[in-house]
Subunit: 296 residues, 2 copies
Amino acid sequence: MIGFVGLGAMGMGMATSLVRAGFEVKGYDLNPAAVTTFAQAGGRAVRSAVAAAEGSEALIITVVNAEQAQDVLFGSGAAAAALPAGGVVVLCSTVQPEFARETASRLYDLGLEMLDVPISGGAARAAEGKLTIMASGHPTAFVQTEPILAAMAEKVYRLGDECGHGSTVKMINQLLAGVHIAAAAEAMAFGVKAGADPQQLYEVISNSAGSSWMFQNRVPHMLAGDFTPLSAVEIFVKDLGIVLETGKEIRFPLPLAAAAHQLYLMAAAAGLEREDDSAVVRIFERMAGVEVRSEP
Amino acid sequence: MIGFVGLGAMGMGMATSLVRAGFEVKGYDLNPAAVTTFAQAGGRAVRSAVAAAEGSEALIITVVNAEQAQDVLFGSGAAAAALPAGGVVVLCSTVQPEFARETASRLYDLGLEMLDVPISGGAARAAEGKLTIMASGHPTAFVQTEPILAAMAEKVYRLGDECGHGSTVKMINQLLAGVHIAAAAEAMAFGVKAGADPQQLYEVISNSAGSSWMFQNRVPHMLAGDFTPLSAVEIFVKDLGIVLETGKEIRFPLPLAAAAHQLYLMAAAAGLEREDDSAVVRIFERMAGVEVRSEP
């Protein structure tokens, strides 16, 4: 039996991937509609984090941030106390590495294991069971959860025997991803203002040394003017916030991450926080009176 | 007959590619040693820009910046006046789009054509005749120079009938390339400071959404601690300077390009201006007392 807390865009896909792989999964979310949807997909609906944890060999947590994860395990959720001895908490939320380390230590004191398992790949790959997982934790926890991770992920990176390493690598990935999307927005809007054709600019840069994974992936959203949130502006307000908070704590200056974070905050301030992260381009568009759109 | 001015790391490879393709090429550089090397590779050595221009159907200019190009054509070089009527100036230097437009107009008044042809790909691809060319200019100039461009480049993007468009696209490419190298440095050094293994970090990010062309290409230099200049810090001091100057002129704010430019200036201030651009990581290394190196 597996417990699952957090049936959002990523969690729902992951939980239903587990059901499809033959696991019995108890799913809980604050939003009752998500729980109902999960039950219709073959999962078992439960009404609390405690109920998800009771009798489960593993409890997978995909809530949005550290505060919620903390609350699920030790606060109002009280799930840690409900897990059977030897149970494994699989923490998938993007959190500060220090939070992952501290949480693992606290669970260990309760006779529980933890894996620090940030995920990457987006909602579509989550639904297909084809995520990338950046995992660290004790080898016995890996042995216990190997088939569970395999059902959710196409690629599992094992990044060490201690919790925290997974979150560190994920944090660095988010730093770069966040900077690259903001840079793509700045560059495309600047190019259009300077007289370039947006579609041509996209095609040439995509095949040149200025390209990035995010440039190739997000600029088409800008060209189409389609800001349907596949991953929202507020995710980078949060994730670059984690980056900068960690930088402050370990005394590491991050001028590019800080500048990019300000751009996502500008987008959020302009009411775009729930739009796709590529909507950061609209800040430049509004300031400079241009539009990064290609002809249909 | 082709004239060629500027036999540096890029120009030498391009000029010898032309010789190899069967063109007769007169080469000039301020540095006599470079001219001698070119003569040994089968080119014709000349002692001035005027001599390179005289009787040439095309004059290729690969000097380092707009000031030098200006001087070659209209200043002490006086090459524009020496070109035969209908000759084409092929301007390959990375310059502000406005400079390319103005120069084309000035040459046109003298009965000459110009192509705005910034190049990309590095010295190794220049030597192989496999550059990427971002070209704009009048169609007749393209017809006249088609076999010349084909001998130097694997890929020729035609970006419009007016000079300036090529330089705009190149400028945007340099904005992104410069930001991505600086972001790679910031991210790798931060990751190591936060406890990640540098080699593992490189491998995971290379295959994740945080990757960029520059991340994949430059981080190996950091991991090896090999800052032999394939492209130097001072190139981005210059090229992001062009980006920011243009931004100022057309009133476009560029927070990420500006932050990255400051990092290259920090590297230059620390005496690293002639090292590889990936040496920008050493600024972070020195500040934070870490080293982004993998075991050999």
